[in-house]
Amino acid sequence: MAITVIKGGLETTVQDYPGRKGAFGMGFPPSGPIDHWSFRLANVLVGNAPGAAALECAFIGPTLRFERDAVIALTGADMKATLDGDPVPLWQSIGARAGQTLALASAVTGARTYIAFAGGIDVPLFLDSRATFVIGACGGLDGVALKEGQTIPLGSADNAAPGRRLKEGTRPPAPAGGIWEIEVVAGPNDDWIDAAGQRRFLESDWKLSPKSNRVGFRLEGPEWTFTEKATNKAPENGEHPSNVIDHGYPIGAINLCGQTPIILMVDTLTLGGFINPYTVPTCAWWKLGQSRPNETYRFRQVSVAEAQAERRRIAALCTAASLAPEGPP
């Protein structure tokens, strides 16, 4: 016995980073945390490898009872967590004793809270990953989001201590003015969108639809207009300008389904028959993970090299080097 689930929350899943890699050929997306910046920092705070299995809690968090002492850390969204009624600070490691109850409520800022446990969550590997893929009923804890009565097994830890904090400037910043500026890389199918359509995409405000989840983030905004490539094509591509012969989907692709753009996320279908004019690079996924329905996105085009540099910058922050020196704050 390690931790008992009293309440599962809205959708709390075991994830690891970078998730289930190398399984596209079997039809499995990677899964894994959406805000992998906050996720990795939670692990760093409890002395785990940055990618160790931990919990992703969406919008409404779980209630968990500790059956043994543990060191934990919460990062990401503020869900007004309490441990036996006392407020639990975010972004630092804390000790929980056997018998204590950790309760998370609804997110007041952000959307996803990450809970890491020293030693990691010790569920079996499936295709080399512990990440839950609910649609595939696999990974994580019995392939499902946490539910009442389940037991979360923990690994053993030898490197954990409460009271660890992060240095200034190492964690994801809040969006400026409540508007999310999201990096995008053009392609693979940007040449299906005409110049006016590309301009409209980059210059408009986009609203995140409530119909968004780990499969995809649906956006509401202006019309798309197309080039000849979309309108004059081999018939097997399909009728609508956004139709194309089924092709593999990059994760993060902005998939244009008719006139509705959907950012394909970590549990996406791995292939389909719609074009992907732009792709949100991995360095911006944390923004998706923390944005709430009806919030505004603005897209900023960056080069592949710029996106890769930002990815490296974030990865460098997700290490023990980001821990503040021990001692009183």
Partner: protein, 289 residues
């Protein structure tokens, strides 16, 4: 069109899409699967995964291990090494899958759609009619008369996208518009030039012409075929549908339920594109079964 130079298009910071052409001719898939096999064999540094389809391959890479330009160069080197499409020989198993054509379950699914979403006649009859076939019985003969080439395993776990290898058995049909909201598990669907098998009970757009009682993936390893693999089929495998009636369908269902069903899969063949093309050239394409 087959591109003279395959296109390597960015998909964010960790993916590229390699496109061999812009239509669905099968040569493009042979090239895509040839590149997939070459990447597996080459163990190209930094390449994490591949996701092939009709005329393209998505390649996932680790930008800390290989830069975008170097990756594109490696991909072009491997594609050049493939030679012409006729030179390709691909590992290809042949799986015999039981199917009940015009089964009661997909019929009920289509009727549910007709009632709730949009009027619609029976799918097998519709597909037979628009393909100039006598009736749904001939559709079953034609559909089971060919090996189906697995273009990709994708979209949802274990789901194969397939095209008929025998041009005398090619059928084509428009997809549902609007799509179904649910689909019978194990349903055999046809849409465009393709056949698929629904491996999750989710939405779908293919016309439903039959159902298989066997699972195409199994995360619990209940059946012997799944002791050392999670999904039954790989891209470049072939599927031959074996028509069964209700009694046999239910017998197989019981064998699946008690964990004793043995799949019939042959694994000693390789698929030669040149031999295949020679064979196709020898056929009378106006013939129908």
């Amino acid at each position: 069109m087959i591109y003279d130079e395959p296109r390597v298009l960015p998909g964010g910071d960790t993916f590229v899409l390699v496109q061999f052409g812009d239509d669905a001719r099968i040569d493009l898939n042979f090239m895509a699967l040839g590149l997939t096999a070459a990447l597996r064999e080459d163990r190209t540094k930094g390449v994490i995964d591949t996701n092939p389809s009709y005329n393209s391959v998505v390649v996932e890479y680790d930008p800390d291990l290989i830069g975008a330009d170097d990756l594109a160069q490696e991909l072009r080197r491997l594609i050049e090494g493939l030679g012409s499409v006729e030179d390709l020989e691909l590992e290809s198993r042949l799986a015999y899958l039981p199917v009940m054509y015009r089964d009661p379950w997909t019929k009920a699914c289509v009727e549910d759609y007709a009632q709730r979403i949009a009027p619609r006649d029976g799918d097998p009859e519709f597909v037979a009619r628009i393909n100039g076939l006598e009736d749904a019985a001939q559709l079953a003969r034609v559909h089971s008369g060919t090996e189906h080439w697995v273009v990709a395993v994708c979209s949802t776990p274990g789901l194969p996208l397939m095209v008929a290898l025998d041009p005398r058995c090619a059928i084509t049909s428009p997809k549902y518009n609007p799509p179904r909201t649910w689909t019978t598990l194990g349903a055999i669907g046809v849409g465009g030039l393709s056949t698929s098998i629904y491996t999750t009970p989710g939405p779908g757009g293919y016309n439903l012409i039959g159902r298989t009682p066997v699972p195409l993936w199994d995360t619990q390893a209940r059946l012997p075929a799944y002791r050392d693999r999670v999904v039954l089929l790989d891209a470049a495998d072939r599927v031959k549908f074996v028509p069964v009636e209700l009694e046999e369908f239910e017998y197989i269902e019981r064998r699946v339920a008690d964990g004793t069903y043995a799949f019939n899969i042959t694994g000693y063949q390789r698929f030669s594109v040149r031999a295949y093309k020679d064979w196709v050239a020898s056929l009378d394409p106006s013939e129908r079964f």
